[in-house]
């Protein structure tokens, strides 16, 4: 287990901050990557430094070499073969006509795909590959499982990107920049194509709400996010039953139950203080939305003036401050990683913990006998919105604009969204996919069932709209999340929190170097 994990493990446009993917492998450590990583990719033969060889100067260069940080920025910027190709030839060797049976005109050839592998080997793709190759015997799919997607970066620089990649992990590529550079293909054709299982239904119609919103960057649909990264406030149903506590649905119930829990000598809440996105996405985001509606986040995303000073944010901050002042949070969470906080929670040191849908899979080997992991939406001050929970689609797939075999890439994604693939995925990773109804009668585990039910109830209230500013303006999110941790665990008060967040937003709005987006 790694002690360090980037709080921004996924840089897909869809879902900035869920753990990289839903296998139990928490070691996506940005920290372990040496800063010289990029230096090894330097294109050879471009030594243009003049040969100053005075003894002292050479010695100093040697000393500076120990620093190694400048080498970080040295990537292949020399003109490389194919560097001028803008990839408009997507579809070479795939000139077959399109038909409802073969909507993208796949004509064989090779499909080169890169997939993030957190250590589990991504077994669920075996079936997808098999289904694809059964239908297109001329097509050879080469799906490379890799721990570090950043090795694709020079391929983009060279203009020879792969056909398809699944963007997760510490080395995930920056989708915002790739989209801005026009290096990612639109997925509109995929969404409009007939679905794998039922030709009368398009791919888009076969999916749960949110896929389009999650995959759209600056107006273009570039990402296909296939996994439901819902956030829940998890508890152990067995513990609650044993103590005779009712699972709370309103904020007041949660607070009065918390007082009872505290009296029992247990702490009501735990979360990781090292990955500030957990309390943000798991508590602050739903709480604000439940108080003031999801429009509050929309205005924050759009950097509207005084957006952080809205009453809903203030009320939510006051409620969170109370968690600190009433000492409802497990002491020591500030320096706990996600796994450490989840372990403490599994040991009943705390009753509730905000984590995403991947919790069961991540902690599989540590769940004690008789523990009944249960997902529930964050209790709500407004009972009408009690079931609403952030359920952002994640684990985004992307097709580069310069892909050599774009039809095959799109066809692969169409297969991936088949019922068979989805159910296979759920079986192997205990996670819910975005394919509508695929898991309805699938009995896997109790946590899985509570999760699917929670998502269904949430969708019945209204579709969750992902909060975008952490992906659009990551430096601003770093600041607002630091403020959130200071509010929850350190000494920041409500006014201080709102001021810090508003300042970060104002700074972002005023900075011309940052490309602005709206929704």
């Amino acid at each position: 287990m790694s002690a360090a994990r980037s709080s921004r493990t996924v840089r897909s446009s869809a879902h900035a901050d869920a753990p990289a993917h839903a296998t139990a492998h928490p070691s996506h450590s940005t920290a372990a990557r040496p800063p010289q990583g990029a230096a090894s990719r330097t294109a050879p033969g471009i030594s243009n430094a003049s040969g100053t060889t005075g003894t002292t100067r050479r010695a100093l260069f040697g000393l500076a070499g120990a620093l190694g940080a400048v080498g970080l920025s040295a990537c292949a910027t020399s003109g490389a073969p194919g560097a001028d190709a803008d990839g408009s030839d997507g579809g070479s060797g795939a000139a077959a006509g399109t038909s409802p049976e073969n909507p993208f005109g796949v004509a064989g050839g090779e499909l080169k795909a890169f997939v993030f592998d957190g250590g589990g080997g991504v077994p669920y793709l075996d079936l997808t590959e098999q289904l694809l190759e059964e239908k297109h015997p001329d097509l050879a799919a080469d799906v490379v499982r890799t721990e570090d997607l950043s090795t694709l970066q020079p391929q983009f620089v060279n203009g020879t990107p792969p056909d398809l990649f699944q963007n997760s992990g510490a080395g995930a590529l920056d989708i915002t920049s790739l989209t801005a550079n026009g290096q990612l293909a639109s997925l509109e054709d995929l969404m409009a194509a007939p679905s794998w299982d039922d030709p009368t239904v398009t791919v888009e119609e076969s999916l749960n709400p949110g896929v389009r919103e999650a995959g759209t960057v600056d107006g273009t649909l570039v990402g296909l996010n296939t996994v439901q990264y819902a956030w829940a406030l998890w508890h152990d149903a067995a513990l609650l039953e044993e103590k005779g506590w009712q699972p709370p649905t309103t904020w007041d119930e949660l607070m009065s139950l918390s007082a009872e829990i505290k009296a029992e000598g247990i702490f009501p809440f735990a979360f990781t203080g090292q990955h500030a996105n957990y309390p943000d996405e798991g508590i602050l985001q739903p709480l604000v939305a439940k108080i003031g509606g999801q429009e509050v986040w929309q205005s924050i995303d759009n950097l509207e003036e005084g957006a952080w000073q809205q009453d809903a944010v203030r009320e939510a901050a006051e409620a969170l401050l109370q968690l600190r002042t009433d000492q409802l949070i497990l002491p020591g969470v500030a320096q706990m990683t996600h796994v450490q906080s989840q372990t403490a929670w599994l040991n009943h040191e705390a009753v509730f913990i905000p984590v995403g849908a991947w919790l069961e899979n991540e902690m599989k080997s540590a769940i004690p006998e008789g523990f009944r992991m249960t997902a529930a939406a964050l209790p709500s001050p407004d009972p009408a919105l009690a079931d609403l929970t952030p359920n952002n689609p994640g684990a985004g797939w992307f097709v580069p604009e310069g892909a050599a075999n774009k039809p095959a890439a799109l066809e692969f994604l169409r297969v991936l969204l088949s019922r068979e693939s989805s159910r296979n995925y759920a079986e192997l990773s205990n996670s819910v996919t975005m394919v509508a109804g695929a898991h309805d009668d699938q009995q896997l585990s109790e946590p899985f069932t509570t999760l699917t039910e929670m998502i269904e109830r949430s969708n019945a209230v209204e579709p969750w709209q992902a909060v975008k500013y952490p992906t659009w303006y990551p430096a601003m999110a770093e600041e607002t999340r630091a403020a959130l941790i200071a509010l929850l665990l350190d000494d920041l008060d409500v006014d201080g929190f709102l001021t810090r967040c508003q300042k970060a937003a104002d700074r972002t709005a005023a900075d011309d170097a940052i490309a602005k987006q709206t929704r």
């Binding site: 360090a4 940005t30 920290a31 372990a32 920049s177 090292q274």
Partner: protein, 306 residues
């Protein structure tokens, strides 16, 4: 004729090294400087020059100056404490025995023991110290419990969760990891000091402290100078340890964010600002060179022959 023959020989030996160094070190530096004048995102084959924009941005970036101040704090703490401890330990080992002239008993064992952290990779040291500071089952917590308190009572939120202590906590790990290496360096330097000088000093009535200050230190000064520069440049970087122990600088309200971790996030987390990150790298490189020059100047002493 002789000279020509020698030139060939010299070139044969120099060329491979020079070529490798130029390709893998110098060209990277040159490219880094070049990229620092662009708004490159790291994905395109073309560069768009923006003049000094990145440097102007850096001068106005509060987060950058916070990182610089953390580096400055580390530059004060780490070299002073590390070298002080290394000198102390080396002296104790060589001259800590009975009388003032003999090595302490078991000197060989201490040598191995203190050097040991040097063979542990920095990343492992970072992870290990995260556990030392942990509030559950951590070594520090265990020790404090022996005296009736615990780590969270002494440091709210824990050493690595508290913005006011995280930098110091990491600095301690840095000191622990490198003290052994410099101790061995000083030990070897001290073994080169002729024994007669100590005997003479002892005859003149010099105690341990005096013979350290007036015999040992002047004679190993060039080693101390080298050590100081190495350590200072290493501290200016500090990437690995800080990254591992503070979530690449973000933990505890960025209380331990240093230039290199901020640079990393700028390039890899903040929408691929490779141009801006390269400008930071360039400044760090110039800073290291300047630091080395200044240290050379300030610590310059007359060479002593012995």
């Amino acid at each position: 004729m002789h000279l020509r023959g020698r030139w060939w020989l010299i070139l044969t030996f120099i060329t491979p090294g020079l070529v490798l160094y130029s390709v893998f070190v110098l060209s990277s530096f040159a490219q880094g400087v070049q990229i620092s004048f662009t708004n490159w995102t790291g994905y395109t084959p073309t560069l768009e020059y923006v003049g000094l924009d990145n440097y102007v941005r850096m001068a106005r970036d509060g987060a950058w100056w916070r990182a610089v101040s953390h580096n400055a704090a580390l530059l004060v703490i780490v070299p002073v404490v590390t070298l002080g401890l290394a000198l102390l330990l080396a002296t104790l080992i060589t001259r800590g025995g009975s009388g003032t002239l003999r090595a302490v008993r078991g000197a060989g064992a201490y040598r191995v023991l203190f050097f040991f952290p040097q063979v542990v990779p920095v990343v492992i040291i970072g992870i290990m110290f995260s556990y030392v500071y942990a509030s559950r089952g951590g070594l520090l917590d265990g020790l404090l419990r022996l005296v009736g308190t615990d780590v969270l009572s002494v440091v709210p939120n824990g050493p690595l969760g508290n913005p006011r202590t995280i930098l110091l906590a990491i600095a301690l790990a840095a000191v622990w990891s490198s003290v052994g290496f410099y101790m061995v360096l000083f030990l070897s330097a001290m073994s080169g000091v002729p024994q007669e000088l100590y005997e003479a000093a002892a005859l003149d009535g010099a105690g341990r402290l005096r013979s350290f200050a007036h015999v040992t230190l002047p004679l190993i000064w060039s080693h101390a100078q080298t050590a100081l520069i190495y350590l200072a440049i290493g501290t200016l970087d500090s990437y690995a340890l800080v990254a591992v122990m503070s979530m690449t600088g973000t933990a505890a309200d960025s209380g331990a964010d240093v230039m290199s971790t901020y640079l990393y996030r700028t390039a890899f987390s903040f929408n691929s600002q490779f141009g801006y990150a390269s400008a930071m790298g360039t400044v760090m490189m110039l800073g290291s060179v300047a630091l080395a020059l200044v240290t050379f100047r300030l610590t310059k002493r007359e060479e002593l022959e012995y």
